[in-house]
């Protein structure tokens, strides 16, 4: 049985840990509220933008816009949005596992967040060329303009022919307890990239008119659609990160409290034992003296 002093030391250290995880939980909770709000209030906008873009897909053949029409894929870029910091449960691990499963030689990666960068650097690489085409920073209050730099980079590569398709991988925020991994094609816009497994909506009954010309409208709409998709994915990812971290820290705090309880019990037992022994010794000594 450990000495009482030893147990007391352990209780103190566990209590300190609990204090830290509790503080981290509070910080994550307040960040989570903000991130959630940002992610959720953008959803209707995102959904409608997607609807509009989707209504263009059936007419892709006529419209002949490079972002609408698939071409043979030699090289596929994957934008990976993870977190900057760890201690957020299995969020990154889930994402990376899925990416690892799909990893192939035709892929290059663009990372957002430090964890994504270090994971991608560790991927098996048979070609010798670097897999990581670029990495971008992640900030809590990332603005649309900053996220646009990422999409511009990807679109430039796409139009210069260096890459032929763009996928996006991120954590999808469902609620504070549930986050799912989402990996979906972004460009070229194809029916499956938009409807995400749901049956495609009924084709518009009449071909739409465009104002200004279809080319000009698509030139404005499609890059914006990509910009916005990436921005929304980052917001989603941030909301997921803070939620996952809050839950992870909450569990850690609860575990620590449980441990303190167990240790306290053990400590009291040891203390009681010590006292009993002392009384016994005093009594014995007294009897011996008489």
């Amino acid at each position: 049985m450990a000495s009482t002093r030893e147990i007391r030391r352990r209780i103190r250290s566990v209590k300190n840990t609990a204090q830290i995880t509790k503080a981290m939980q509070m910080v994550a909770a307040s960040k989570m509220r903000r991130a959630q709000l940002r992610a959720l209030e953008g959803r209707p906008y995102h959904k409608l933008l997607e609807e509009i873009a989707q209504s263009l897909v059936p007419q892709a053949g006529q419209l002949r816009h490079p972002l609408l029409n698939p071409r043979p894929v030699r090289r596929r870029a994957v934008l990976v949005i993870a977190t900057d910091k760890g201690l957020c449960g299995s969020l990154n691990t889930n994402l990376f596992r899925e990416l690892f499963r799909r990893h192939g030689n035709d892929r290059v990666y663009v990372s957002v967040g430090r964890k994504a960068r270090s994971f991608l650097a560790s991927l098996p690489n048979s070609t010798g060329a670097t897999l990581l085409a670029a990495d971008f920073e992640l900030r809590d209050n990332l603005t649309f303009r900053e996220s646009k730099r990422i999409s511009r980079f990807l679109l430039d590569k796409f139009s210069s022919g260096e890459i032929d398709a763009i996928e996006i991988a991120h954590s999808h925020f469902v609620n504070a307890l549930v986050q799912t991994t989402e990996i979906r094609p972004l460009i070229p816009l194809a029916p499956e990239s938009l409807s995400q497994g749901q049956p495609a909506a009924a084709a518009p009954e009449v071909p739409d008119n465009f104002e200004p010309s279809p080319e000009e409208l698509l030139d404005a709409l499609l890059p914006f659609f990509v910009d916005w998709n990436i921005y929304q994915a980052i917001l989603d990812s941030l909301a997921s990160e803070h939620s996952a971290r809050m839950i992870a820290m909450k569990n850690a705090t609860e575990n620590a409290k449980q441990l303190v309880g167990d240790l306290t019990l053990e400590y009291n037992r040891a203390r009681q034992e010590g006292i009993t022994r002392e009384i016994l010794e005093i009594a014995t000594a007294q009897i011996a003296l008489e």
Binding site: G42, P44, L49, E51, E211
Partner: protein, 137 residues
């Protein structure tokens, strides 16, 4: 009489989702009035004023850049801004216009920054336009 279902959505959420008799919106090729049974159309919109007419009631909003999808019974408008007339703070906006104009005149701005400032200016001017025109006499 049939009505149009109008949805106005911004990144901050759904700003308006109701029926209206007529919508006037600032398209790239000029203002357009939309009645029910309009021909399907997708258009870009530019910063300006949007008017919703429902019976006798008239609502005016300042909208920013975006897109609108019009079909026979639905108008869906996506914009980076949608402010009701009464939400616009004239003094603040006037100040923003002033600052943006100055920045555009004086400073050497990068291409991206230039575009952002110009967009901000256009949004602010649209707000002022809405506010000043409809000020109660």
């Amino acid at each position: 009489m049939s009505q149009l279902q109008v949805h106005i959505v911004t990144p901050e959420g759904v700003r308006f989702a109701q029926d209206a008799d007529m919508v006037t919106l600032p398209g790239v090729e000029g203002e357009m009035g939309v009645f029910p049974n309009h021909e399907p159309l997708i258009t870009r919109i530019v910063p300006g004023e949007l008017v919703l007419q429902t019976g006798e009631e008239r609502k005016v909003l300042a909208v920013g850049e975006g897109f609108a999808r019009i079909s026979a019974e639905r108008v869906v408008l996506l914009s980076d801004m949608a402010l009701y007339e009464e939400e616009i703070e004239e003094a603040k906006v006037a100040e923003a216009v002033e600052r943006a104009q100055q920045a555009l005149r004086q400073k050497e701005l990068g291409e991206e920054e230039q575009a952002a400032t110009a967009a901000l200016l256009a949004r602010s001017l649209a707000q002022l336009k809405v506010k000043r025109r409809h000020r109660p006499a």
